[in-house]
């Protein structure tokens, strides 16, 4: 995580106040701009602090970054330690200068293998440092937010080829150091092309539109649910609750943008006794709790009306929403993290026993965002076929638990079936984690 965008060079301890990002309003396509190195997005949909209100998403992001980010305050100490313990890791070390005038200076004896560069920022501004292949543009290593006067380590695995350090001081153009050739015929280590904010604007816009198209379905769904309850048809309400809820759960990549609305529409109650009766418990799960715990229609009219009203407001406001492009890669990964954490544990079950249906809807949402990212992902992730087959396998095994509207509740899964779904989910998550890493938005110039 980086504190690059908002940390004063002289005070690496993170500044508490958010600094609006200068170009936040100037991006084409109506997309909220974020720091190029933004990664500390709110990574949880259920966390109470997930309230990145749509219009100010970028600024909030910056605040989160500043507060919780890299913990780079100890850089000086780390730098000294690195020098002192240089030999202890058993790896070859090379001291490299990071500055506008001397970017990459010091690489006198290039060699293949796993090695450490001790990067020292001799300039006056915090800098990002990349180790790149200047021809292909692939990055072999990165260090974000190297504070002036500090030394930090970059561990890389280098094969034979040509490399150059790239120094990107804050508020200054990037500088590429001299090209250095590692001789021999050693296979090259892991590397990929960086993704820029510009790259992500088309898929982000397309995703925003896809969500917009789902908004109508969602509003119709909650409207039907409300009507069922208003006329006292609770059997129909149970059926229509599920279909409306699944529409919402398919929109998984957008929760950060929904902000507080997500808590009102899909929040859960605390575990404490009586929490389900608290007036603050609202939305789909409140209605679910009532429908599956024998509450009369009269008791559910108000929660259903409130849900429908909140969904309507979300739909009406969506045209003004701006998704942060930096969210795309994170959400591609984290929808399924949420599935594992909240659905496969049953934490979000309030009686319907439809966690696996929700998981299946979440997987649809993941598929959608992956399909939009695919043109960028294909040249960057050689394991994409593995990822695709992991998606297919989880889908297949979730589908086996669904029978039309009837889904096997978690606690009725046989052991083998449960283990298979856990295995599929865990495997898929291991495949998705690199997607978030690759789509960490990077500066290139």
């Amino acid at each position: 995580m980086s504190a690059e965008s908002d940390t004063e060079p002289a005070s690496p301890a993170a500044a508490p106040e958010p600094e609006p990002i200068a170009e936040a309003d100037g991006e084409p396509g109506g997309i909220a701009a974020a720091s190029p190195t933004t990664r500390s997005l709110t990574r949880r949909r259920v966390a109470p602090a997930a309230g990145a209100v749509v219009a100010v998403a970028a600024a909030v992001t910056a605040a989160v970054l500043a507060g919780g980010g890299g913990g780079h305050g100890g850089d000086s100490a780390d730098g000294k330690g690195a020098t002192a313990t240089q030999a202890a890791d058993g790896l070859p070390h090379t001291a490299i200068d990071v500055s506008t005038g001397g970017c990459g200076r010091g690489w006198g004896h290039p060699h293949a293998g796993t090695q450490v560069f001790d990067l020292h920022n001799s300039g006056s501004a915090a800098s990002e440092v990349y180790l790149s292949d200047p021809k292909s543009g692939k990055l072999y290593g990165e260090l974000e937010g190297l504070a002036p006067g500090t030394t930090r380590q970059m561990l890389v695995d280098l094969g034979s080829g040509t490399y150059a350090f790239k120094c990107l001081p804050e508020d200054t153009d990037a500088v590429t150091g001299p090209s250095v050739t590692v001789p021999g015929h050693q296979p090259q280590g892991a590397a990929t092309l960086p993704v820029t904010q510009h790259d992500l604007i088309p898929p982000t816009l397309a995703y925003q539109q896809w969500i917009g198209a789902r908004m109508g379905d969602l509003a119709r769904g909650t409207g039907t649910l409300k009507a069922d309850i208003d006329r006292g048809d609770l059997a129909a309400a149970k059926r229509d609750w599920l279909s409306a809820h699944l529409v919402y759960e398919r929109m998984g990549a957008a929760y950060g943008t929904f902000g507080d609305a997500d808590g009102a529409i899909n929040g859960t109650a605390a575990r404490t006794p009586g929490a389900v009766d608290d007036a603050s418990f609202a939305g789909f799960h409140r209605v679910e709790y009532g429908l599956w715990h024998g509450q009369p229609a009269a008791a559910l009219k108000a929660p259903a009306a409130e849900l429908d009203k909140n969904v309507g407001a979300l739909r009406d406001g969506w045209s003004q929403a701006r998704m942060d492009p930096a969210e795309m890669g994170l959400r591609a990964h984290e929808i399924i993290e949420n599935t594992e954490q909240f659905e496969l544990t049953g934490r979000t079950d309030y009686g319907s026993g439809t966690n696996l249906a929700t998981a299946r809807a979440n997987l649809d949402g993941t598929r959608e965002i992956l399909s939009l990212l695919r043109p960028l992902l294909t040249p960057r992730d050689p394991a994409l076929p593995r990822l695709d087959s992991a998606v297919e396998r989880l889908q297949h095994d979730l589908d086996a638990a669904g029978h039309g509207d009837a889904w096997t509740p978690l606690d009725r899964l046989g052991r083998a079936q449960r283990e298979q779904i856990n295995a599929d989910t865990g495997d898929l998550l291991e495949q998705l984690a690199p997607v978030a890493a690759i789509f960490d938005v990077r500066r290139t110039a």
Partner: protein, 424 residues
Amino acid sequence: MSDTRDAAGELRRRGFLRGAALGVGTVGAVAGAGAATAALTGPSAHAATPAPAATPVAAQDAPFHGEHQAGIIRPVQQATAFLAFDVTAADRRELTELLHTVTDRARFLTAGGTPQALGITAPPSDSGTLGPQVPRDGLSVTVGAGASLFDDRFGLKDRKPLRLKAMPAFEDDDLDPAWCHGDLSLQLSAPHQDTVLHALRDIARHTRGGMQVRWRLDGFTSPPRPSGTPRNHLGFKDGTGNPDVGDPATAGKLLWVGDGAEPAWTTGGTYQVVRLIRMLVEFWDRVSITEQERMFGRAKDTGAPLDGSREFDTPQFAQDPMGDVIPLDSHIRKANPRTADTAGSRLLRRGYNYDRGMDGNGNLDVGLIFVCYQQDLERQFETVQKRLAGEPLVDYITPFGGGYFFALPGVRDRGDWLGRSLLA
């Protein structure tokens, strides 16, 4: 899922191995305190960490490669995790990938070194809980196969070891199905708990699609109190009477499978029995010392047999035919009557204490992860178990889980892998 082979012909980035995160090189032994080793050392440089004086608990490094898995003969270590897995791999090819992956991870984790640098392509390849370099720290990784692995899924029906079956319930057992059996067993042991947990996290991360934990119990070995064999939760020294498997002739008679009746692939392996035994320590603490000692047949303080004065004195059952000194139904007398007829039933015990919190009635949930190895399940463990049926000690213990496994033959070299002789 496709296998790709690198220049060396080794399987890499296979199905369950997302990052192909084979570590780099081997860092010299960091296990010993103050081992400020710097240079890269080859895998053969097994810098022996000196065993702490006056402890029978293992602290030596054992090489990963060999005819047998290193963790079997090796004495118990301070920390362990015992797990049973169910295989979720879809077919024989995926099972093969899984065992390749487990082997690769075990090879790296037991050797130590620098985790692979993945640059910007992925999260870090290692959890970092042991620091930036993974110390070898005496880790052992022991893998076994349960009878269920030889069902219809992987075409291994005709390769099942002769004696392997699902562990039956014995007379005094109260087995919980959730804590029994499994397609594979995995035991991780090391001098430190963080090393064990690091290894578990690493192996699980690389095998999520291929296997899922069915049950897991962590254990520990107490230091000698004050000397000799470590004590169990009942306060008695446990493991005193183990056969000397460091003697190849003894090991050949009691431990390693390799005779003609077993499938050829089993050579170098051994049967592994694990029994999860709850000890009712509150009840035990309310029993007089005389009764406790007569149940075991040993003195609680020294560990000596009741007819001797030192822990390693040999009990002379023949001179006490009526059990006046060591009762006929005492644990040591039932377990090992020390006659010519029963010599072949001796087995190698490698048990650990466990502590997993509290029970609903407010009592400590503690006990023993009893692990033993033998050449023949029926001739050894089952025979001993039947002799022990109804011993007075059963009132204070409750076996609730475990299983029978076949500890696979060792990984002979860098080209070999766990289960090769079974699957290739």
